[in-house]
Amino acid sequence: MTVIALGPGVDEPADVIGGKAHGLVTLMRLGLPVPPGFVVGTAVCRAFLRDGRLPDGLEEELDAAVEALGGGPVSVRSGAVVSMPGMMNTLLDVSGPVAGAVREIFSSWNTQRAVTYRELHGIAHNLGTAVVVQRMVFGERGGSGVAFSRDPSNGEKTLYGDVLLGQRGDAVVDGRSSTLPLTALEPGLRAELADALTRAERHYRDACHVEFTFESGRLWLLQVRPGGLTAPAAVRVAVDLADEGLITRREAVARITPRHLRAAAVPRMLGGDIVARGRGASPGVATGRIALTADHAVSMPGPVILVRPVTSPHDLHGMAAATGIVTSRGGLASHAAVVARSLGKPAVVDATSVDDRLLPAGTMVTIDGTSGEVALGRAGLSTAITNGHVHRLLQWADDLSGDHSPRPAEERLAAAYPNQRER
């Protein structure tokens, strides 16, 4: 059987049906709303890449499976066993035969960029991707977004995320339009999302995030993933999950590596009045007055945050003069992100203002290049030294090693697992 209908009874591992389908099956088992659909397994992709054509009979099987969904428009998405964000295609609102879309997604496994991505991340080239086909749900008739069970920036236990009203999910991911916080959702939907994330957390025993769409007031979940937290958030979530009894203290300590501690020690912005959010592209915190052109960044007295839609070589001198950089477009791998890192300057990319607040040139702001947040004024700094969660986690590590002597944090963590190499 090469085409498998999504349902709570599917019992195939992620390497057969891909990570996305595996997560959707998990959501269905938890009784959560997932648009009806089916998955074409990774073995079919491997056969396609080997033979250069779909296996005999697959097109008929696909036609029958689409017909079983009601014959209306569908979404066709890639779903490899290992996440490769942005590397493969997604086709929305496909009507009629889907074989062409399936071929396109299978082929996108071997674009040169995807091959390079796998080389960089040590992912085997022969895995192939699954393809998930689902009845199309229309965010245009409601909205779509991403929701986290805990704030991925600091780990606080609160429903967190972004929603685009009246738009499809791909617009959220592309960052083409400005998003709203989840408080923009009506309370009933928000409660439903919070409940779904609580159930997912109990299952994965970890913080989770979901992609969602609501259509005519009805919530649908399109993807679930555990993790996805910044290092300080990962520390806090490990400690909180142990306190909540979802994992043991030993598991909490095992989840945190010296790398988390080092990354969590990078200074972070202390909350404040958040006026824009994007993605942290170059870590660190910077405070300064907004300059909207590179020339102003050079000529304005005092520290400056250069804010641009995108950057060109004509912004390089402004970036060099600025203490921090914000762009409203582009991603973590954009020219602006690469240049900001090369200059060692904090940067936020893909930033959109919160509640459409406009920040004129000269406004004092603070940016956090880890969380991607932009706050009004001079927001203070926090460091790991003041972080109670790190202290508690290390206390638990000492309890495990039996050594309570004063020594560096990484040694205390390592002593709890003496037989492991540095993880």
Binding site: Q112, H314, V338, S342
Partner: protein
């Protein structure tokens, strides 16, 4: 077509040596050219670096469009640009991988203490460069000034291979910065906005 004016259009505010290197002319010739351009109000010099004026930008746009038309190169440059834009996200992925590493879900600066990883990224840069060469050659076949990018990209890669780690993504003469300028040049030449 004034190559010094156009170099400044593609690299932004820069000191004399960078202008000369980008234009592929001697420092003396670049300086003499820049002084003439300044007299005409097309460039300015501030704090030791040269920059374009609005008039200079307009004049370069005019010259670039005239050059493209006289070479009848719009289709060829357009097609090379499409190929460049397939390579561009991959190059940016590689620069990011050179600067940052994600291990155990934690993203941190690449401390360059893992020679195996660095070698892998450097090799992938070389592999991408090999695929970028025909695009540059196609451009240079239409507009010879594009040949300078081939030389500068190759030189940056050579310096990185010789151990100058900052020459891939982290200096003003890095492979990434030259690539960024080539990207700008393509947009300027085709008269397209950056998106």
């Amino acid at each position: 077509m004034n190559v010094v004016l156009h170099a400044l259009r593609c690299i932004g505010f820069a000191d004399l040596s960078r202008v000369a290197d980008a234009a592929g002319v001697s420092g003396a010739r670049a300086e003499s050219e820049l002084i003439d351009l300044a007299v005409d109000g097309l460039v300015t010099r501030e704090m030791g670096a040269w920059g374009l004026t609005e008039a200079g930008r307009a004049e370069d746009a005019r010259q670039t469009a005239a050059e493209l038309d006289s070479a009848d190169g719009r289709a060829a440059v357009g097609s090379a640009y499409e190929r460049f834009m397939v390579l561009n996200p991959e190059l940016l992925d590689l620069c990011s991988a050179w600067q940052l590493r994600t291990i155990d879900g934690v993203t941190a600066a690449n401390d360059h203490r893992d020679p195996t990883y660095d070698r892998k990224v450097l090799d992938l840069f070389g592999e991408l460069d090999r695929r970028a060469q025909p695009v540059c050659a196609e451009l240079a076949g239409t507009l010879p000034r594009f040949g300078r990018y081939r030389e500068r990209l190759g030189a940056a890669l050579g310096r990185a291979r010789a151990g100058a780690l900052e020459e891939l993504a982290d200096s003003m003469t890095s492979y990434h910065v030259v690539w960024f300028q080539l990207h700008e040049d393509l947009l300027v030449t085709l008269g397209r906005p950056r998106t």
